[in-house]
Structures are given as C-alpha cells and as structure tokens.
Symmetry: C2
Subunit: 333 residues, 2 copies
DNA sequence: GATCGACTCTAGAACGTTCTAGTTGCCAGC
DNA sequence: GCTGGCAACTAGAACGTTCTAGAGTCGATC
C-alpha cells in the first residue's frame, strides 16, 4: 500500500482519509482540535500507509528543535554511562538527543560542527578538551553545558563532580585504615580534572597533618601511564596510592602484582571513575564514583532552562562523589 | 553582527550581499553558476554574519539525505571501534552519520524509531537483536545493513566476520601447541553469533579428529558467565578453553587464577573480539580479532549502493578474522 | 429567531533550503 | 544588425511539516 516509491506524507494520509492535511497534522501531534471519530480514522489510515512523520520538516517549521546535541568520546566507558543517563533525562523533559562522536580521526571541533548544522537547541559536551575561549564563543551562539570540566568563562554552564572532594574521600578512607605514606599518581596536563584531583589529594594530606608524606608521581590517563608510575614508586613503595583514574590504576596494579607486592596487603590502591571494568573480579578496585544520574539530570535541566531563556542563578553545579570500597584497600600492616 | 535574535539564513546573507537567495545557495554549495568575484563577496558576508546552513531545510528540499543511521549499544567497547570505522568510511563517500544508542532503558526498537523520523537514507545496525522478521519489514522500507550477525531474510544486507572461521583459528592454534582436551564456553541463546562460534569450535575439533574431546559449557556474554563456566570446568579441567568473548574469558581467567591454576601453564585460554581491555597487561588475552576497517568500509559501501539503487550481487559479506596471540596460550605440558 | 460559544475542520502562509525555468547582458559569427 | 550561445544571475515553486485565521455546524441562551 505504498504511494509510488516515496514514503507517505501527511498529504497522502489526508487524501486517503478524506480530510485536510492540517487535520492529520493535528491528529499526529495528538493536539486538541479533532473529534474522537476522525482521530481514530486518521490514525488507522496512517497505520495502514505506514506513515512516519518527517522530523526535518517538523523541526524546520516549528522553529524550536527540542533537540539536544551531545558530544561524546568513543572508548570512554564513562561517557557511555553518561549517555545512558542523558537519554533518560532528555526523555523525561520531552527532548531528543543528537549524538556526535569524537574518534581518533574526528576531533572535537568536527563533532561540534556536525551538530551545529542540525540546529540543536543546546550543546552538552562531555569532558571537552577545546580551549575555554572557544567554548565561550560557542556559548555566545547557543546554550552550552560542559560536563566533567570546569570552565572559567561565564557564558558556559558547568556540571561536574567535586573532584577535590573525591580525593578527600579517598585519602580519608586510607588514613582511617592506618595509612600515612600515601602517594598520588597524577593524570597529566591534558586531562581537565587532573589538577583538581591532585589539589584534593594535597589538601586532604595536609588536613591530616601528613604534609611531609605528600608524594605526587606524574602519570596520565592510560594503563601504560599507571604502569610507568608504579615502576617509579617501586624504588620506595608507599603503603597506599591514589590514582588519577581507574585505567591508570589497573596498569599500576598489574606492575605491583608482578613484582609480588600484595594488594592490599603491602599496598592499597584507590582509582577514580568506577569504570565498568573496575568491578571486574580481577581488578575489584576501590574507586571514587561520580553520581551519573544527578549529573545528567542537572545537565539536561540546565540546558533546557537556557533554551527557555530562564536566567540561571549559578552557572556551575558541583556534585559530590562517593567512595566505592572494594578489594584493593585494606588495613595497614 | 547578528540579525535580530535568530540565526542568520540565506536570505540574510543575500540581503547583506545584495544578491538573490538562489545565488547564495549556489555559492554555499560550491555549485557552478557564480562568478569568482561574487563568490568571494558572498563568502565574506557569510563569514561575517557567521552563517551556518540549516541541514534540516537543506535535506528536506533536496530529498536525498546523505545520512546513514547507525544503531549501536552503549557499553560495547567493540561498537565504539566500529563507530570509529564507520565515521571514516562515511566521510570518504560524502555521507554523514546519525547515531542512536541502545541503553539499558532504551531498547533497539526505540533507537531505530528515532532514526526513522530523521529520514536516514539507510540503516546500519550493530549486532541487532530484534527478530529477523522485523529486520525484514524494516528492510522493505529502506536499505538495512546488519553487522556482526547473520540474517536469513534476503532483503537485509549483512556484513559480518566469519565467526566459525575465528574458532577454527583458535582451535588450530591450540592444537598446534599440543592441546587436545579443548573445551568451549558458549555465549548463550541471546547472542546472535553464539551458534556460529560454537559450530566453528565443533567443526574444528572434528577436523582434528578430536570429536571425542568436544566439550561445550554453557556460558554467556558477561564476566560472571565466564566465571560460572570456569567453576563448572574446575571439576575436570581441560588443558585449553575457547571462550565466546573476551569479557567472559576475563571472568574465567580470574576464577582459574584464584584456584591457583596457572595460565597458560595449566590452562590456555582464547577469547574473542580483541576488546580494548584484552590487551591490558593484567589480562594479556590471546583472542580473535575482527577486521574493523574492512567491515565498516564494506557496510557503508553496501548501504550506499542500495541507496543508489544498485542491484547487489551477494547480500552477505563475510570477512575473515585473525588470531591475536598474546600471553594466555602456551605449549602444552 | 438572532447571537453566542464550542467544537470540528480547512485554506493558505510560513520555515530555510534547493531546483527549475527563466531573464538579463555580452560577445562572436554571419 | 540580427541571431545564437554562454555566463551570471533571479523569481518563484517546491519539500513536508506546523501555525494562524477563519469557516462551518450545532445546540444553548437571550
């Protein structure tokens, strides 16, 4: 029952049902202005013709796109978790998501450019790496929400975890277990949250009067970075280590175990992110988890407020993290 | 330099440059029909007004969308790899990608429905789980390419790895190392490729005259499934195991090591997928890799052929996998 | 019996593009 | 000086929706 070769339009349904195009539009949108009887008849015809509304035309005409652009990175397990939460949050407020991925050969700028052409109403960026000046320019054009990264520019909204607090939790936990010689493996220059986490570590150590024990080893976001840091630490092993993220922690764990240091017997280790693999039985990593549901809900809410033109009180929302205690931390001695 | 509050349109650029809308369109599309001088002038104005073409209107009018819908699953590291490849392949042929994710609370049907409304020219589904009858209906409406899964229905194009061959490679490798008591941990009913892999295992064992040693343990796609299978195997451990996928293999490895069976000393293990974590130092898993670049290139090519209305010779393309030998397999004894 | 309101429905103009079919202006050829 | 052809440009109709304004119809109210 196809009309020619092309997909059926409102006009096809209207003709077949013997009503006007406008009325079919009303029925399809479930808007008021049609009797129950015609509504039923039109829906029946639409179903029979296998009519599918054309989003392009719909959005074009109605002006407002109810579309949130999301830029995420491939191979970031944590981004997948955020995506899940964003879909939920967007659905709750009646928005759709337009995804654009960053891949090894498609950078953030390209991903953003793709979304701009789709006329998204706002942009949600997961851990954006582009300079904040560029973010600001973008934000001049449309609402922009950055997640997991702080941005100085006022125009950009920020929803992020309190990374410093995350490291306070980690250090507090280790101190409570009797540790004092606690080292930190850093995330490197390119990671937006690296500085905050390192600062959190330093502050917490000072607060416990362990200023003298502060020891920061340069690392990075990858497994290899953690392994390298571990080799550096081996010369004079601390009793506990906080690591920039889980992947790096996994690399560190591996080197420690290969050198026959028992975890947590000899060394306790805390990661960051609660990545899916951190709960894998092999790894069973104590780690700091970010509150995904809250973060995504707030990010979407903020984007929608901006779209609706609300004046937003505070442009940065900081969510407290929580510590997930697993098998890589234990009592000293 | 914004015109009012809304984003500038062709009409704004045209007015500012003192030419017709049609001419600006010509310039923006880089189509023939404008002098070098005006071209330059129009581009300059467009740049100044920060004009961004509206994809919705563009696609609506021009009819053909040059848009490939891709349905992928969140938390599937392998899907991320495929996405990367698909972006590359699509760019090469001048297509864009529209992504739609499957999340724990957004099923495949919902993901597909979203794309249908965006008027994608074709659909690429990564490891679709919906019944093949449904795929066929969908394929009646638009070109559909299923990856990593075989589909009986003629209308659906398929690009997949030769999963049976993957297990041949695994078994051949183990036999070459002297193994004969080789077990297989299955992927369970819901995994499309599970049956092919199991069949590959059985065939390979028979080919080596090891019919009597065939031993299939029921498993599944998750780490926990592998762990359960491992516990079942412990009663009478084989000298080698091929596992449905890497994640399951990781669970199995963990149980084996906890029970002080050395890998590969006592038991060799082969996974499947070459997931990112399989190369992690902890795991260092021998595994079967799928040829991502070839698969994605072919999938996109096939979709485009169908869009262009070409009659396609064979609707199923099967790519040979290759074995990645790492540290979990070794000489028997 | 006129007026109102409500409900149902419709015509036709938008939205921002691209496309078709011109219309100009200019130069070459006879 | 006319014709033809080409290059540069334009007017206006699409595309498939939604929206605005208004036209009918019916029953109730004055």
């Amino acid at each position: 029952m196809t009309v020619g070769d092309r997909r059926p339009t409102l006009a096809d349904v209207a003709a077949e049902a013997g009503v006007s195009v406008a009325l079919v539009s009303i029925v399809m949108r479930d808007a008021p202005g049609a009797s129950a009887a015609t509504r039923e008849r039109v829906l029946e015809v639409a179903r029979r013709l296998d009519y599918q509304p054309d989003n392009r035309a719909r959005l074009l005409r109605s002006g407002q796109s109810r579309l949130l652009g999301v830029v995420f990175g491939v191979q970031h397990p944590f981004h997948d978790d955020l995506l899940t939460g964003l879909y939920d949050a967007a659905e709750r407020v009646g928005y759709e998501l337009a995804l654009s991925a960053i891949t090894p050969r498609r950078d953030e700028r390209a991903a953003i450019a793709g979304l701009l052409q789709d006329r998204c109403a706002a942009l949600v960026l997961l851990g954006p790496q582009i300079p904040s000046a560029e973010l600001a320019t973008l934000a001049g054009r449309m609402p922009v929400v950055a997640m997991m990264r702080s941005v100085r520019q006022r125009q950009v909204d920020v929803v992020r975890t309190d990374d410093a607090r995350g490291l306070h939790l980690a250090v507090d936990h280790l101190v409570a277990l009797g540790h004092s010689r606690i080292a930190h493996v850093d995330g490197g220059r390119h990671q937006p949250s690296s500085a905050d986490r390192q600062k959190g570590y330093r502050d917490a150590m000072r607060r416990h009067g362990l200023e003298a024990c502060i020891r920061v080893v340069s690392g990075g976001p990858g497994e290899e970075d953690g392994a390298r840091a571990a080799r550096e630490l081996l010369a004079d092993p601390p009793t506990a280590v906080t690591v920039f993220n889980d992947l790096s922690a996994a690399g560190l764990l591996d080197v420690l175990r290969r050198e026959h240091l028992s975890v947590p017997g000899d060394v306790s280790v805390v990661g960051y992110d609660d990545s899916t693999f951190s709960s894998m039985a092999h790894i069973d990593l104590t780690t700091v988890a970010q509150d995904i549901e809250t973060m995504t809900t707030l990010a979407v809410a903020r984007a929608v407020e901006r779209i609706d033109g609300a004046t937003v009180a505070h442009r940065e929302v900081v969510i407290p993290p929580r510590l997930i205690i697993r098998g890589t931390t234990g009592q000293l001695g």
